[in-house]
Symmetry: none
Subunit: 194 residues, 4 copies
DNA sequence: AATGAATGAGGGTTCATTCAT
DNA sequence: CATGAATGAACCCTCATTCAT
């Protein structure tokens, strides 16, 4: 039975992702989430403590998924250059998906400044991202491509540029510029690492 | 009379700044703003069309102020190195002020993905920031310190790193690390430009 | 379940009838309606789109009910004279009921000049009233009592006098004069038709 | 000085007429009235006790004016037929003016069922209207055109038909039908009196 | 386990009224 | 006299949450 409950929770979180992406973090209602999940209004409250609890689980899940996708993509490659490229490609996957994810993620970042639960979830995400950078940089060192000693600092810089460029692209509101921001991001990172 | 009204509007915007910083964009109420301004509930609506109007004025004002401060600080200096240092110093002015500003600013960035008015205000801010970078890079070229040809791309990279590092620092929630993030940011920019 | 909901809607409309009759169309609040229905504040909004929706349903219902009552009463009779008498008797049913209904109905008439939805509901009511008059006049023609050829004109005249006398009686605010206004109305109509 | 004050009051009442006619009794605000009168927001409250006081004076004034106009028009004529015709012509003066006046007047009638002050003002208006009818009927008796003994009853019937037809016309919302309702009204009255 | 009716706090907004200037 | 800034009550409406079924 616990198995069934977990499925239901997944269904609700998935619906919440759609709902928040479409309506926005502040505009979304539990009714919206229930509608997207094709369940009745009381269900989200039945499977979660309250609205914030649903959204916190959503944040935890989407950051976890994104991380796994990025990690997988990077680990498929062998050379440092390819790994970095794969990383960036997976982050800048497509205008549509990026818009959807970052709309939600930006809302969470904004909330996280006042909400410790969100902050902690995001901290884990950052750590995970750092581990990806570390993998790439370790390989780069082996290959003697980028010679970086302080993995932590460089990893932070990489994520900084990814987030920074993504936000700047989001602010343009222009899908057509997605490719150029992606390239600029890749360029900036390699320039930085060289 | 118009003078007095302008002062009142300032008072309300200032109160809104405090209120949004404390409660967050979505949680703040007109009652909160009125309370922070020590006026009655109806006053914000008397001086502004509606809640969004108050907040849009707030965004416009804080971005404008930040820009002017940064510009002034940069223009006081003569060498490119000092200009960049002054820029970063002004951006990373203090944990307290940065926390206050970026709490509000992050909220607006999140909103801007769904609200054109905010998006436009932010676009102007980005342009202004680009003009500061340009000034620095122009001087750098003269001095032959950083040799950058594409000012736009480099300017974007600079702002990207500033925002990126600031957000990462915000997510730590730790005032003590402010200095180290500032240095990392400076380092990353100079590394990138070299 | 739908059955239950319909009952609830009826309950709210009935409460709205009382509330509007007591407080007036413009003065009545959703809170009033909720109070009269012995439900909480949110219920009217749960069963209806908004306040106007409640009131439009109220208008539609009371005009429909009045019409049906009048029609039934008229169709019970056989001679034209009796039919007319029954019509007038049903319209001028009692000071209490008339006061209640016309308080509400007058409010709606006043609103109808600015609100198309109300105007249309009233137009249907007028048509229904005209059909009653037509039935009476058709019978009268058979009996050779009143010889009227233009049913539409005469029907309009009948309703005109009914509404006109009723409003004049309302303005007296005097229940005791109800009978005399009813008689005057009947007299005026028969005089007009002869 | 009292003279000047009276002028100001007139100015406000006139503005209130325009404002109520345009916005409706329930929608009109003191700000609207002040705007139409080209005075500041505080003025209506300065010259009248409160909003209702303004509106009560408005009702008293417009009914008085209408009565005087009707009376004058009737007294210009000599024969009973012409007097009645002049009466009806003055009442049904034009679609525009009638719509303006009756929009306001209907609102007042609706209010009058719950507001004694309005009721009394309207009662005086009805008396005045009755006196006009009486004049006409007196002349008619002299001429042996309509032989009516009970002036009060007949006068009431006349006003009933006037109000009734006017309201029915208002409900059509159609300026083009104004003429036909006027004729129907005249016809109905003469039929009734014959 | 799931529903959805019901609650009621709290939001933004409007506006009559007051009152210092 | 006149202004219009300020007040705050009251409106409609939304929605998270509860709970009987």
């Amino acid at each position: 039975m616990n198995r069934k409950a977990e499925l239901k929770r997944q269904q609700i979180i998935k619906a919440a992702y759609q709902a928040v992406s479409d309506k926005g973090y502040e505009a979304v209602t539990l009714q919206d989430i229930a509608n997207y999940a094709n369940v009745s209004k009381g269900v989200p409250n039945y499977y979660f403590q309250n609205k914030e609890d649903v959204l916190a689980h959503l944040l935890a899940q989407i950051t976890e998924r994104i991380y796994k996708k990025e990690k997988e993509a990077v680990e498929k490659e062998t050379s440092a250059q390819e790994m970095l490229q794969a990383y960036i490609n997976t982050v800048f996957v497509s205008p549509e998906e990026n818009e959807k994810f970052y709309r939600v993620y930006l809302d969470f970042l904004a909330q996280a400044t006042k909400n410790n639960r969100y902050r902690e979830i995001n901290a884990r995400f950052y750590q995970n991202c750092a581990s990806i950078s570390k993998e790439i940089l370790t390989q780069a060192k082996k290959e003697n491509v980028f010679v970086v000693n302080d993995f932590e600092t460089a990893g932070r810089a990489i994520r900084t540029m990814i987030d920074g460029y993504m936000i700047q692209w989001m602010m343009t509101g222009d899908h057509a510029q997605h490719r150029s921001y992606k390239q600029a991001c890749y360029q900036a990172i390699t320039t930085y690492l060289s």
